[in-house]
């Protein structure tokens, strides 16, 4: 209801001349721009570039982050060693690394993949560590007293019990990763959604820009929502 009111005001205010439409555009214009973008056929190309960068970077973040987190959670000395650098990166705005990554890896896809990776991997590692550490110690003791080998303790007790925290880390990493792709493309790139956003922004094409921003928001929301659904399933099945 409130959404409808805001949309109506947004549509009507520029029409009656209360606001300059160049600043805010209008819902109808954004839809029209969307139709035009879809018709012109360039959209699929931009989506595939951005999606490829996102998928590569985030897959890498999961492949590296989950085992690293589980390892650090299990071995205390290793955790103490790596804790300060990980915390420093965690506290740093990861997007501040953009310029240096561009210098190292160029303005192509590699630097975007790296930004996505850095943004995604840290929450995954941190939450995986927390997941392992919060495993009920009596469960481990119980498994040990039933003569479980170290590997069995890990694979059959620690791993399943820390899974919800791992998935939580993946969800938190996800939104950072999406932001990473878009902002990295806005910063320096040759193609992709972020590239479009920056280009239309500098051309003052507010309607086109808003369509792309909405597209990213919908993607980010859907992805987060589906991981959250998976998470809820794990929590309920774990209890």
């Amino acid at each position: 209801m409130a959404v409808l009111v805001v949309l109506a005001v947004w549509e009507i205010a520029p029409r009656v001349g209360a606001i300059d439409p160049a600043y805010t555009s209008q819902p109808s214009k954004v839809i029209a721009a969307g139709i035009q973008i879809v018709r012109s056929g360039g959209l699929l190309e931009d989506i595939s570039v951005s999606l490829a960068e996102f998928a590569a970077g985030f897959a890498l973040a999961i492949i590296v982050g989950v085992p690293l987190g589980l390892l650090l959670g299990t071995f205390r000395v290793l955790r103490y060693l790596l804790d300060p650098p990980i915390m420093a990166i965690y506290a740093t705005p990861h997007l501040a690394l953009l310029p240096i990554l561009v210098v190292w890896l160029g303005i192509g896809m590699q630097s975007k993949i790296a930004v996505v990776f850095v943004g995604g991997v840290i929450p995954i590692v941190v939450n995986s560590i927390a997941g392992v550490r919060e495993v009920e110690s009596s469960w481990i003791a119980a498994a040990r007293s039933l003569c479980a080998r170290e590997w069995d303790v890990f694979a059959k007790v620690i791993l399943p019990a820390s899974l919800p925290a791992v998935v939580l880390g993946i969800r938190l990493g996800l939104s950072r990763a999406v932001l990473g792709v878009v902002v990295a493309e806005m910063f320096q790139s040759q193609a992709g959604i972020g590239n479009r956003i920056m280009r239309y922004g500098s051309e003052f094409r507010t309607d086109y820009l808003l369509f792309y921003v909405l597209l990213v928001s919908v993607f980010s929301f859907t992805a987060t929502w589906s991981v959250r659904a998976l998470e809820d399933k794990l929590w309920t099945s774990g209890k």
Binding site: Y80, A96, L98
Partner: protein
Amino acid sequence: MTGFASWKSSPIVLGVVFFAALLLLWESAVRFGWVNPFFVSRPSLIAASLSREVQSGELQRNLAVSLGEFAIAYGASVMIGILTGLLAGRFCTLEYILDPFLWFLYSAPLIAFYPIFVIWFGLGAPTVIAVSFLLSVTQITASTLSGIQNVDPGLVRAARSFGASERDLLWKVILPASVPMVIAGLRLAIGRVLMGVVVAELFGATAGLGFSIAYYGGLLQTTNMLASLVVVVVLGVLCTQALSALEAHFSYWRTDLRI
């Protein structure tokens, strides 16, 4: 033997040792020519560059600009965020009105709105403040709201049955009980503000830490760039640590919550 064991397992000692080893490896890897210094620079060069920037006043200038933007954005978002969260937690109608917008802003890549803000406010500090404010205020509002919603209804009922007025309820039950969540929101928001400031400055500003990173990046001067990055990292660690300390101070109130 026990002394050795406790030394070995001390997290601070191990962390410092590892950090020092990392710096040493970095320094020597470049000195011995294993890596190209153009790309990674050297810790000693970065330190020299930092002290040069301090002497010329460049660092202080950039830091002052960034911290100013940071303070305005964070201060405004703390006040408005907590107030909105409180009101929305108290009045259902407001919550229903705000909810869709809050979720949209929370999941939208807000920095992508940056070009629109440039159209509205021009390049420079106002745009940087607007982006960081928006990033932070959604987090604080959402946390405050969920803090109030998670207040134990038993406490509220108990206070009511002892004849507490609405005002007593707010000041003596609801606010104290939601403090841990509010502080958690403040901690998460401080990271978002810092990111907003630095990233918005990367894109278009005339001063500030983010600007300095992008500027030296454009000149391919890795050393100066990494020097500014180090300052950002230190700032991030300090902010997070300060808020974590504040959180720990209030944590004796914490009950079991899953956010």
